[in-house]
Amino acid sequence: MSLSHPRVSVPTQRPAATLLQLREVGRRFMLGETPIDALHAIRFDIHAGEFLAVWGPSGSGKSTLMNLIGLIDAPTTGEIYFDGHCTGDLSDDELTAFRGKNIGFIFQGFNLMPVLSALENVMLPLHIRGVGGSEARTRAAAALQDVGLAKFVHSRPDKLSGGQRQRVAIARALVVEPRLVIADEPTANLDSHNSLMIIDMMREMNRARGVTFVFTTHDPRLLAHVDRKVLLQDGCIERDESTS
């Protein structure tokens, strides 16, 4: 199914400012024979250009929610709309192509390819999208420059510090100019100095480029930097506060 043909059983076109809508989204996992409900009928919207933090204790369902928002997992119940289009009926290939074009990912463990240089890691999403070698190289170099790693383009991940690796990951997420960046605990493996630097960098990208950022965190100090914070508790939204 193409994204230009949204499902007809639900409202198809949402206001332009709303990037993502979750409607009664639930996610159940099976632990052997035992069902575990990680999320219960979540309903909330993410607006274009927001800098949003999802926070809460361990096991509250933050990562599950991020996976659903990032379209790398499918809800057991409910629907997710991206830019007004229902994502539920997309085939795996369509969803993958959609992610590649619209969503960037920053992982807690950086998830960089150890055999590739920083530049090549950043070129990877462009290569997957079929961008030619020289253009990909130019864009990746520019993305690395934006995160302050111009001098490290040829360094492999094992030669970089944790903060530098996460900056490479940010460059990789942003190089395809996505509309949404998902960051699941992007600072969990970093010290406080690097954590703040990464959050500041993400914030700067959000302001400068209008890219929507959604990230999870345990660190309450980082919440001071966000527009909006959503508290998740036992798979439900406990509180949804705008701070700006």
């Binding site: 993958t96 192509a97 992610r99 990912f105 390819m113 070129m123």
Partner: protein, 419 residues
């Protein structure tokens, strides 16, 4: 950066495992290529031995039934002087035919005056004998000196000069230049004896015939059998051995149309030894090939399986950032393709090196039923080397498909959560 680069980098991730797999492929490839080269050398050697050494030529023409009923009633099945002349005339414009040699086979007793033994002889003109033996040895074989005694020679100037097999000479305590007496039955059944001179001795290369065989000039054979101008068959040499079957069919049709009731046998049909050895080596080759392919299959499957497990998170990441399932399969397929190609490349170099070593070390062995030692030589059998590479690539891809397919089907969140 493209898939090829990515795949190449992937191979360096666990270089020790990649090298072990590559070496398994390389050694397997080299083993198959060397054995293929050895059998190729055996086949071509046997072919040359049959065509030129045993003087079978490429095609043998005889009257229909000569090879069966003709053994008991040769008078009826021998070609006459007129028939030989007419056949030669019919074939004289065939540009592919380089030699037509009338032959007359017979048997009898040979004696030194004190002891006698049986012999099997071929009557053939000395000139035809020389022509048939051209190209019997390769340069390398000629250089080895091991085949020197295989050459048979009749002196065209000596009507009663014969060549006897080395075993026959030894058995009767004869010597080159000495005298012997041949005793045979003529076509009409009368006993006929003739003094001959031993002009030379030769090794048949076969223990079963080395104490029985003799070559005599055709005229002498005809005289002994009282079969003036007659021949039991015509041996043809062709320009191109690969055309043997096609030319046989064409000649058969042409001679049938000219009113001859002939049968034409190819050298392969006449040389049962060649067919048996060919069949046996093909069987052994297939067996070795299957074992090596199975080893390669398991080695590549194990390597890709381990790689896929190790790189589960990486695959999850690639899938998250937009790589389709087919892309994951393509990535691992490319890695396997590269690994197999590199393995075959290293295997080819190993083949060249080991072949050089074997051929240069002058190893000799006596084959089963052989009368003399032969050098162990390995050829480069390029068609089978190419076939081996293609099959190894196919087997490698097959081995890689299942683990990479399973990996591509994995849920992204499971892959990302893999520890």
């Amino acid at each position: 950066m493209n898939t090829l680069t990515l795949a190449l980098r992937g191979l360096t991730r666990n270089h020790r495992r990649s090298i072990v797999t590559l070496l398994a492929i390389a050694f397997g490839f080299a083993a198959i290529s060397l054995f293929a080269g050895y059998t190729h050398n055996i086949y071509s050697g046997l072919a040359r031995q049959s065509i030129h050494g045993e003087l079978l030529g490429h095609l043998t023409l005889s009257k229909r039934g000569m090879s069966t009923a003709g053994k008991l009633d040769p008078q009826r099945y021998l070609l006459t002087l007129d028939e030989v002349a007419r056949i030669e005339a019919a074939l004289q414009h065939e540009s592919q035919i380089t030699l037509i040699a009338p032959r007359l086979a017979f048997s009898g007793l040979v004696t030194n005056g004190r002891a006698s033994t049986i012999f099997i002889a071929e009557g053939i003109s000395p000139q035809a004998m020389d022509r048939l033996q051209e190209n019997m040895l390769t340069e390398q074989e000629a250089r080895s000196g091991m085949y020197d005694r295989l050459a048979k020679k009749l002196d065209p100037a000596r009507e009663s000069g014969v060549a006897l097999s080395a075993g026959l000479v030894e058995l009767l305590h004869l010597h080159v230049g000495g005298e012997a007496i041949l005793l045979v039955n003529t076509l009409s059944g009368q006993a006929n004896a003739m003094d001959v001179t031993v002009d030379g001795s030769f090794n048949t290369g076969n223990a079963g015939t080395n104490d029985k065989f003799a070559f005599v000039p055709l005229a002498l054979a005809q005289s002994l059998l009282d079969a003036e101008g007659r021949a039991d068959r015509l041996t043809l040499l062709l320009e191109d051995v690969t055309q043997t079957e096609a030319i046989r069919d064409r000649l058969l049709a042409k001679l049938s149309a000219a009113g001859f009731d002939l049968e034409i046998a190819t050298w392969q049909e006449l040389s049962s030894f060649y067919r048996q050895v060919h069949g046996m080596f093909n069987m052994i080759f297939g067996f070795i090939f299957s074992i090596v392919l199975a080893v390669v299959l398991m080695s590549v499957a194990n390597s890709v399986g381990m790689t896929v497990i190790e790189r589960t998170r990486e695959i999850g990441t690639l899938r998250a950032i937009g790589l389709k399932r087919s892309g994951v399969i393509r990535l691992f397929a490319t890695e396997t393709l590269l690994l197999t190609l590199l393995g075959c490349g290293v295997g080819f170099l190993l083949t060249v090196g080991v072949r050089y070593g074997i051929n240069g070390s002058h190893i000799a062995y006596t084959p089963p039923n052989g009368a003399n030692a032969v050098p162990l030589l390995v050829d480069m059998d390029y068609p089978r080397i190419l076939l081996t590479m293609v099959l190894m690539l196919a087997v490698g891809m097959l081995a890689a498909f299942l683990p990479s397919f399973r990996s591509a089907r994995q849920q992204i969140i499971d892959a990302l959560g893999h520890v």
